[in-house]
Symmetry: C2
Subunit: 404 residues, 2 copies
């Protein structure tokens, strides 16, 4: 299937989407309030954090997404509105109500999301004052502003968009999205913040099915620090404006949509991993030969999440023992006497044991961006890829004084 990636495309790439990113005053100088708006209401689907402690915005937004219909998303950075008790819930609800009022749409079609420090009351007056401005600035060119407004410790905004044809001769479908995330990144059947808009025509349950497929292969395969946040969410809004017919599961048209969505999510997920707190480069771990796909995922995620693997990559140290050690405790079943390990294309271990390899060549391969590690467990057909980053002094610096 041909995917046409749209340069500089983002959340407003699909037909009928507008966005804005403004400064409401939660952060000192930077944009901190993002608004995404579809000219018509559309189907909604979402995946939310597995953390038992969920931010107030999730408690408000989850039932709205489950109801299957959204028209707008309002997101602030600088404050997670989490662990604020009943007052936090009221604040999140009010943030959505004010947005609905300013847009003239039903409150239940507004998604509310927050990201930032946990346990501090949301400065609602600032948000209330900022919402009218966010609405005024809505524009089909506002996608990058919105991507900037959801950043916390991110160093770059993250957006992507692509176009594909569900079937020959059919109007193309566009999918665009923005994401944020840099620390507290270790999704468990959930993700960090990502918002996706498409003009595809898909009913909510089918949209949910496609999103789950895409998230399992993208956002759920990245790790920065092993911590699963309280506010993770990926939400998609499909407004049907492409002009094509409904996408139905079990058809090649739907499969193409699902694959395109997975490709878009994959690009956003890799952007998050590459921008991991303190990261100097992207780490890609490919596991093949696992007994099952699930085993491959377990092993790939454990390797990419290992502090010891990540510090070795930072130091360009070809310590493949740490790689297989992480696979060993991942829960994936494999024969410890049969695995092979590669750094880039260089074999460093075979049949469960080390090879004589050129340390300098290995160091050079580890200094590349991305660093690619491949582990062949030689026990089946299961494959999976996970993404993360190396672990540098800067991760410690950034996180030792996050609040103060």
């Amino acid at each position: 299937m041909e995917l046409e990636w749209l340069d500089n495309g983002g959340i407003t790439a699909a037909k009928g989407f507008q966005a804005s990113g403004t400064h409401a005053g939660l952060k000192r100088n930077k944009k901190d309030l993002a608004l995404i708006f579809s000219e018509v209401p559309g189907a909604a689907a979402g995946v939310f954090t597995a953390n038992q402690v969920k931010g107030a915005p999730l408690l408000i937004s989850m039932p709205r997404v489950r109801a299957g219909r959204l028209q707008a998303m309002i997101i602030n950075s600088g404050n997670a509105n989490t662990c604020n008790g009943p007052a936090g819930l009221e604040d999140a609800q009010e943030m959505g109500r004010l947005t609905a009022e300013a847009l003239g749409i039903p409150e239940e079609t507004v998604l509310v999301s927050s990201t930032g420090v946990i346990g501090q009351r949301l400065p609602l007056a600032k948000i209330a004052a900022g919402i009218p401005e966010a609405v005024r600035r809505l524009s089909p060119a506002g996608g990058l502003d919105a991507a900037e407004a959801i950043m916390t410790t991110d160093t770059v905004p993250k957006q992507a968009a692509l176009r594909f044809a569900p079937a020959p001769g059919e109007p193309p479908v566009t999918i665009g999205g923005i994401a944020k995330g840099s620390g507290m990144i270790h999704p468990q059947m959930a993700t960090m913040l990502a918002f996706i808009g498409t003009d595809a025509y898909v009913a909510p349950p089918h949209l949910q099915e496609a999103l789950r497929f895409a998230v399992d292969r993208s956002f759920n395969m990245i790790s920065v620090d092993g911590d699963t946040s309280t506010n993770d969410m990926v939400v998609i809004l499909a407004n049907g404006q492409s002009g094509g017919a409904a996408l139905l599961p079990g058809t090649p048209r739907f499969d193409r949509f699902r694959e395109a969505l997975a490709a878009l999510c994959g690009r956003l997920a890799r952007a998050i991993a590459r921008d991991g707190e303190g990261a100097t480069r992207l780490l890609e771990v490919r596991v093949k030969g696992a007994r099952t796909e699930q085993d491959a995922r377990l092993a790939a995620r454990a390797i990419v999440a290992s502090n010891l693997v990540k510090t070795a990559v930072f130091g360009n140290d070809a310590n493949w023992g740490r790689i297989i050690c992480a696979a060993g405790y991942s829960g994936a079943a494999f024969d410890p006497n049969r695995f092979d390990v590669y750094l880039g294309d260089l074999p460093v271990a075979r049949d469960g044991g080390g090879l004589d390899f050129d340390e300098e060549q290995a160091s050079r391969l580890l200094a590349r961006d991305p660093v690619v590690i491949t582990v062949d467990l030689r026990g089946g057909e299961g494959t999976a890829t996970a993404w993360g980053c190396d672990f540098s002094y800067d991760y410690v610096r950034i996180n030792a004084n996050y609040r103060t």
Copy 2:
């Protein structure tokens, strides 16, 4: 029960134990070969890593421990003898055979253990040359030398010993041990290296029961970096030389032994956590009010293992949101609206929400050694304590260039 801690006591504190620590040449200058010897064979019990990839020494030693009888332990540092295939197994077996020969005891009563880099062949000639010297130097005063010889990135040797009376008027029982571990510390129903000797009289299955009890409350409750090593083991040898009667489960005498063993393991485990790679201080996390003890353990372990909590402690930043976030993804069930969090004695969150607290006071409490964090989940009677350390720049420095 009264425990008498023995100053400077270690693996040779109990009656009938001798030890030595020598330099065989695996490391450049430091001691790298430890030998522990009981004048009579004794009951053995052990707990081994849950990692699927197990070092060759474990594959040789596990059946010997299961057979329940040991008289000596030979341990090298500087090389883990792991992922070396059949040759590694032969090397481990030979290391045990040579030790047995030099001591004049059956090969099956020698435990073999190795720690260091994974995937490099063990320099057996050096070990073979070192063993006679290790035997010559055996002495009741050799415990500290043995503790030094098992160190890798450890900055201090770790040993402890205590004495207690199983019943009034009975001869006292002594338990002594040494341990090592600094990185790759996140045991899962297993531990890093620890060797314990006691003159108690206990049959092997009962010794195993007592060791499991002690390990679950000590070594299995510490975390340095979330990585579970391939070579972890805790092994105890009980030679019955105290002169007391056999300790039988279901009796107060056995319960006292179990508690004393747990206390000894706890002290060694805290010594490992405090000496965690790059650590500047010990972190103690107490969870209470959990629905079950298992839930309390899950939450305590997740908090103590969180990179984000550990970096916040390093930075003296009272970011309690990260603490409860870690509890939230731990798998422990609790009501997110009812928990309390304390730093030292200072309440920072109550009823699931933040309190106004003095940031400077909180910073001072976080700068203490040990740092004590208490989380009350207010949903039951389950309690658990876990130990770890803060996360500093030095962890990255140490691990970026471990091999090179």
